[in-house]
């Protein structure tokens, strides 16, 4: 895996002008001539020279311009105009200009005769900020209601020092919540609002570092790994990078994969020249299949060329990641172990004992620490509780107005195109290295659909867990396309990159009309939580603060006092049955609604504008509730029989 030499066409990458190789250790060799004259690049006009000086300042200037445009973008974006098309429609020229400048900064440095790694890293950071991080820039607080609920989980642990019982099944995997409760306490903070807001670009940056390291091992070269990193960011519409355990789980997964495919990787053929497969020379007759298998079986895997203590440190870090993943998230450890098992079966890494460590961590944690969970909810683990993951993940979500439907179709099309490009890349990789294992790594997470039930988001996770490898394979396809085709193809791909990042802003922001959260909504929920009396049975339906729909910052505080907004009996969502669910003694202590809930009804469910205010009037008219706050579509009511 660490070797980057091509075999199929008999040409090494040393003479590859598109993507020259990098070496793990600096090679000190005297050079009498410059490495690669710019004029030798394919497609360049004969005799033309590109000034290095232009590239020295072009990329930094573009990156700085992109960053400078972001405050303008934040100031000129009117979030009140959000509709079914989401964020992309309301972004002004400054935001799109920033994105274009960020893309141009990356491309300019990539086209430089001597790309600088620090500059490429900085440009990549700016690109993430201008694409994945754009909502964090233009929106006042973090969007995505689940992020706020998870902040509420951390708040709950910070208040009591223990996982609350009977509130949410996610508390059986409490590592992430406990970790942030600890950080919060250690930092002397009372809430995590700022962390929530900037978490997506920060965690995607960490993921991208992992993709770059992984691509360096798998693809080699000095430019292709950066393209793989950008492709990963551009194709990552899945939005699992909000403040969540799975976001951290992906960090652990990429770390372990990087170890396995990088420093721990073993080569497939013996360096001493044992005839293996593929045949080493064109004119050598191919050995029989039996002989090749025998040679493969009897040839011990090569030791990675690292000192023993470095290997041991890597084993330790990989084991630590696996041990950390078990209490962190429900399915990420299975993804990691599944991919490691595939690599072990084909003999691709040294230190297969870490698989045992991973399996042991998962089994011990679920059986012992998660005992109450599996005893009561075994169906969730083995998949008997929900048969409609595909339906819930894809077809059930294709609803809403035109903007919503278009964005959702794009969410289906983009993974399809990603897989298509990755399959082309797998073919390229096969021709170059006779290796199909990488595409297998992307396929492994699909087995979760067969063995686990995780509701509608399972499909999203399957795409996400495969995306690092898919992006790298797709890069190999693009490199093969560019090679020997000249600058025109490169320009075409640069334009494609700008289009891709525009698309990812459109797709990721497609739900922002009802996923956006405002500071006054957060303040509203905190105030309602503080003013609502706590009952002895905090999990009773009559102790709950319930939102009209599962949106907004509901649950950001007070989970220990008011639960997570569970209704009684068959009532699932208050917006569907507001009056029948609020007329008996089990009715919620308080009900809140936000602008996002109003917009969700209008753009996603086709309700008439003002529907949430109509429900408010019904609740007040019933005599069971009294208004405690109202500002536009943000309102709160409480039971009339509660003390003032």
């Amino acid at each position: 895996m660490t070797s980057t030499h091509t075999r199929g066409d008999g040409r090494g990458v040393d003479d590859d002008p598109v993507d020259p190789p990098t070496t793990a250790l600096p090679v000190q060799r005297p050079r009498s001539t410059p490495p690669v004259p710019p004029s030798s690049r394919p497609g360049s006009p004969a005799g033309s020279t590109v000034s290095v000086g232009i590239f020295r300042w072009l990329s930094p200037a573009l990156a700085l311009l992109a960053v400078a445009l972001l405050p303008v973008a934040a100031a000129t974006t009117d979030l009140d105009k959000l509709d079914g098309w989401g964020l992309a429609k309301i972004l002004g020229p400054a935001a799109w200009g920033a994105l274009l400048c960020a893309v141009a900064a990356c491309v300019a440095e990539l086209w430089s005769p001597r790309p600088r790694i620090p500059m490429l890293g900085a440009a990549t950071g700016v690109l993430i900020l201008c694409s994945t991080g754009l909502p964090s820039v233009v929106e006042p607080v973090a969007r995505f209601s689940t992020a706020w609920l998870i902040a509420g989980f951390s708040d709950s642990i910070a208040q009591t020092g223990a996982s609350p019982q009977g509130i949410d099944a996610r508390f059986y995997w409490p590592a992430f919540f406990a970790q942030w409760a600890f950080f919060r306490d250690a930092g002397g903070a009372s809430q995590l609002d700022t962390v929530l807001r900037w978490f997506p670009p920060a965690v995607v940056t960490v993921w991208t570092i992992g993709i770059y390291a992984l691509a360096r091992s798998m693809l080699g070269g000095s430019r292709a790994p950066w393209v793989a990193a950008w492709l990963f960011v551009g194709l990552n519409w899945i939005e699992q990078d909000y403040f969540s355990p799975q976001a951290t789980g992906i960090v652990l997964m990429v770390t372990v994969l990087t170890f396995a495919l990088g420093p721990l990787a073993t080569r497939r053929t013996d360096p001493a020249g044992v005839p293996g497969w593929p045949r080493p020379h064109e004119d050598v007759p191919r050995l029989s299949v039996v002989r090749r298998w025998m040679v493969s079986l009897l040839t011990p895997p090569n030791r990675p060329t690292l000192p023993a203590r470095q290997l041991l440190l890597i084993y330790f870090c990989a084991s630590l990641c696996l041990l950390a993943a078990a209490p962190e998230h429900q399915i990420t450890p299975f993804a990691i172990v599944g991919q490691l098992v595939l690599l072990a079966v084909v003999g691709r890494f040294r230190g297969r004992g870490i698989i045992l460590v991973g399996v042991m961590a998962i089994v011990v944690f679920i059986l012992i620490a998660g005992r109450e969970f599996w005893i009561n909810q075994l169906g969730l683990i083995i998949g008997s509780g929900d048969k409609g993951a595909i339906a819930a993940g894809v077809s059930d979500r294709l609803t809403g107005d035109t903007g919503q439907v278009v964005v959702k179709y794009l969410r289906v099309i983009v993974p399809g195109l990603t897989w298509l490009l990755a399959i082309v890349g797998a073919w390229t990789y096969w021709k170059r290295r006779r290796d199909l294992v990488p595409i297998g790594l992307a396929v492994v997470p699909m087995f979760f659909a067969a063995v686990q039930s995780y509701g509608g988001e399972l499909v999203l996770r399957i795409v996400l867990y495969g995306l690092p490898i898919l992006a790298i394979l797709a890069t190999d396809a693009l490199r093969a396309l560019v090679r020997n085709r000249g600058r025109v193809t490169e320009v075409f791909l640069a334009v494609g990159m700008a289009v891709l990042f525009g698309a990812v802003v459109l797709i990721r922001g497609g739900n922002d009309s009802y996923q956006v959260v405002y500071p006054q909504e957060v303040a509203l929920y905190r105030q309602v939580s503080a003013q609502t009396p706590t009952l002895a049975d905090k999990n009773a339906p009559s102790a709950q603060i319930v939102a009209l729909s599962g949106l907004g910052p509901t649950g950001v505080v007070g989970l220990n006092q008011h639960g997570s907004g569970v209704l009684f009996g068959a009532c699932v969502e208050l917006a569907d049955n507001p009056i029948p669910c609020t007329q008996n003694d089990n009715r919620p202590a308080a009900i809140v609604s936000y602008t996002s809930i109003e917009k969700q009804g209008v753009y996603l469910y086709g309700k008439t504008p003002g529907w949430s205010l109509a429900i408010l009037q019904q609740l007040v008219a019933s005599g069971k509730y009294v208004i405690t706050y109202q500002d536009g579509f943000n309102w709160a009511v409480k039971r009339t029989d509660l003390p003032a």
Binding site: L312, Y315, M360, V364, L367, I368, R371, I375, N376, L378
Partner: protein, 99 residues
């Protein structure tokens, strides 16, 4: 039957297994092994790791693993084994006898 008080033995055995695997990795990677030969230290640590693993599996089986596996294989509800069958719902009053 599951006894939560015995969980400590599971955690201890898991920690022992990790320690043995770590020691084995240290010996394997820092030793000057020759191709085709395994040192006595490595063999000893491999055997000890295997024993610890078998012990861990046995403890896990006692502490819920067997119940989980049988529940999955037979499609039964493990909560009924642990907590007993749910209490029957109170009988509805008969119209002739009800007050």
């Amino acid at each position: 039957m599951i006894n939560p008080a015995n969980d400590v033995w599971v955690w201890a055995t898991a920690a022992l297994f990790l320690a043995l695997v770590a020691a084995r990795a240290w010996v394997v990677e820092t030793g000057r092994a020759r191709l085709g030969r395994t040192s006595r230290q490595v063999k000893t640590l491999t055997g000890a790791s295997a024993v610890a693993l078998v012990g861990l599996i046995a403890l896990l089986g006692l502490q819920g693993g067997a119940l989980m596996v049988t529940s999955i294989v037979n499609g039964t509800d493990p909560s009924k084994v642990v907590y007993g069958p749910a209490p029957a719902a109170p009988k509805a009053p008969s119209p002739t006898t009800g007050g």
